[in-house]
């Protein structure tokens, strides 16, 4: 670990990861705390509330992992990262996992060497404009000034989309969502573009959300999910199956309301295996038998977490869409707990 301090000083962070690559699960247990990388603040996905307690869709996943591994949903150190700093933070071992609206791409997986353990939100890139701009399609945006976060897939998609459609634009690069919001509201850019979910979440915090519209075009696939470093499959498995535990729980009808009742035993063996009353799944992961139960107990199953943080009842108001269970016509599909 001394090595990584030295390299940090040289601003060549991320190179000492070799030291931290193996045994993340043991590290987390020994530390008694999970270091989870999140956004710098995107209400609904990850943002601290008035008391400084982090809340949101991505935050819930961090808490579920902490509960599964350490039995304590509050044993999490939330590390805010920008689009640019997130990968260095993960590679250098500063964080154990990243849950930050991060798109699973080939090069991030293969070249940057991160393992995306799954997808917790199927998304796509959209455009947010003020209503009085009088624009109804992204194709009408010729010559517009567009705010984009740097270090994201967003800026690459944007450049391709405008070039392919033969229209021009003026990019305004920004570091964080908060900066983008400031520039957009002040009219320093005409358009704000990022993942559609992020736009909905950002718009929900505006004073007059109704003065802004999302354009119909979704110009990319953005499968957002949690990721860990390559080369530590045990730890990858822990995060992956915690996510699937939440997804399976919804599919199997396990909710925070009936969790303790179900733990008493059901006649569905998969539920029993998931909740640890049958078989040794927890043991195989190197966790307690009640790991998944602890994870679900934090904020309920996937559907409950969705509904509470970003669902249609919230100001963000996202429909399940692609993120419904496969049985409901969505893409959520957990491999079996067996």
């Amino acid at each position: 670990m001394n090595k990584s301090i030295l390299f940090g000083a040289l601003t060549v962070a991320g190179l000492a990861a070799g030291a931290a690559a193996a045994g993340t699960l043991d590290d987390v247990k020994a530390r008694g705390k999970l270091n989870c990388g999140v956004t710098t603040g995107l209400v609904g996905f990850a943002a601290p509330d008035a008391n400084g307690k982090w809340n949101g869709f991505d935050v819930s996943l961090c808490r579920a992992v902490a509960a599964a591994v350490l039995g304590d949903e509050n044993a999490v150190e939330f590390v805010p990262t920008t689009g640019k700093t997130r990968f260095t933070a993960l590679a250098s071992g500063e964080i154990d996992m990243l849950a930050r609206n991060t798109t699973w791409t080939f090069s991030r997986d293969v070249d940057l060497k991160f393992t995306f353990v799954g997808v917790n939100y199927y998304d796509g890139q959209g455009f947010l404009v003020p209503k009085d701009l009088g624009v109804s399609s992204a194709k009408d945006l010729d010559g517009a000034t567009v705010c984009i976060q740097t270090g994201t897939t967003t800026e690459l998609n944007l450049s391709d989309y405008f070039r392919v459609n033969n229209i021009s634009y003026e990019p305004v690069p920004i570091e964080t969502n908060a900066e983008g919001q400031q520039q957009f509201l002040a009219g320093a850019c005409d358009v704000y573009t990022t993942d559609a979910s992020g736009l909905a979440a950002t718009r929900a915090t505006f004073e007059n959300p109704d003065d802004y519209v999302l354009l119909p075009e979704i110009i990319s696939k953005e499968p957002l999910g949690p990721l860990v470093r390559h080369g530590d499959d045990e730890w990858g498995d822990v995060v992956r199956w915690t996510l699937y535990a939440l997804v399976s729980a919804e599919e199997l009808g396990v909710t925070s309301a009936n969790l303790s009742e179900m733990t008493a035993g059901t006649n569905n063996p998969e539920i029993n295996r998931l909740l640890g009353t049958e078989g040794t799944l927890g043991d195989m992961l190197g966790l307690d038998a009640g790991w998944a139960k602890a994870a679900i107990a934090v904020g309920g199953n996937y559907g409950e977490i969705f509904a509470k943080n970003i669902g249609e009842e919230t100001p963000i108001g996202l429909a399940r869409g692609l993120n419904a269970q496969w049985t409901e016509g969505g893409l959520l599909y957990s491999p079996p707990f067996r």
């Binding site: 030291a19 010559g143 000034t145 740097t150 391709d160």
Partner: protein, 422 residues
Amino acid sequence: MSTLTDPQKESFRLSMLLYDSRYRSATIQVVALIGFIILVGWLIYNTSQNLAALGKGIDFGYLVEPAGYDINQRLLEYSSRDTHFRAAIIGLLNTLVVALLGCITATVLGVVIGVLRLSNNWLVSRIMAVYVETFRNIPVLLWIVLAMAIMIETLPSPKAFRGDNATASMMLNDSVAITNRGVYVPEPLFSRGLGDIHLFGNSSIRFDISLDLIAILIVLAASIWAVNRVKHRADKIQDSTGDRPATWYLQLGLIVVPVGILLAILGFHFGYPELKGFNFKGGTHFRNSLIALWLALSLYTAAFIAEIVRAGIMAISKGQTEAAEALGLRSGKIMSLVVLPQALRVIIPPLISNYLNLTKNSSLAIAVGYMDITGTLGGITMNQTGRELESILLMMLVYLSISLSISAVMNWYNESVKLEER
């Protein structure tokens, strides 16, 4: 040979390396050197080990891949299909632009403020003191962010210029638009221009040279040569007759008339910015990020330069001023003819380090999204390719080269203004 070394060998003991002052400093240097080499070796070894563990070798091949991102301020033509290398060059030029603009503005401001701070007018000198203390005691990053925030929040957006009940309007006869996206000013255009020369074909270092610009520079050079001839002749006449003929109208004419004629031939005119669609089109666009960075860096560095100028002036003995007064020079002339030229010797060395500071501080551009080399190579490129080590090494090399070049030029200038001892 043996006769020479033998007696020394006898008297030499190992402990003398430490206790004998003849050897001690050499010992310390050797030990320090070995330590340093071990440290560097360890760093290199550790880096390569860790890179290998990550499965990432050092490889600069990414520089020739398409960058895939757009850059708003580009002095050379660039599209997202160009390479990362070209993106780095665009960024480098942006760094140089803001550094150059910043150094010039900071110097002008710094000299004025430094001189005024010595003014006999109590109010003026106090105001200048307040200026210096405020600017140099607050981190420049805050000034940059503040300048940007003020521009974005207080200036009208292009939307405000539109429609019948526009709340904002252009200035100076509709030729300048000040918006929160930057300032648009008229741009020089040539209707019968000579075109450009394209250099380096389609490669990443391709660029165009404007023939119009070259023509103008040639004519200007010729004019300046002619003006020098005129001055020379005037000197001669003054030497022989004691009277200097008035030549200012001739000099002015020699400069203005040929260039004027050339501009007329080339069809020189201004292109005015005009609100079209979402933004102003035409004219030259100084983006808010450039202005914020330029202003903040200049105002901040000017405070330091003002102090250097003040110190330089105070280093010139009062006798010089008094002697000049005795000769009947007015105070403005005393400053510009007697004091400042001598003060320059004291001023220039610390001035160099301020220029270097300004250039290095320009990497704070990232805070306002100005796409300098830290924003392109050290920002988006590094981030999208994950080539941290390579990008950082290249950036260090770039900043080192810029700094050494500035030092070289300024040292050369320093040589030329140095007091020649006779």
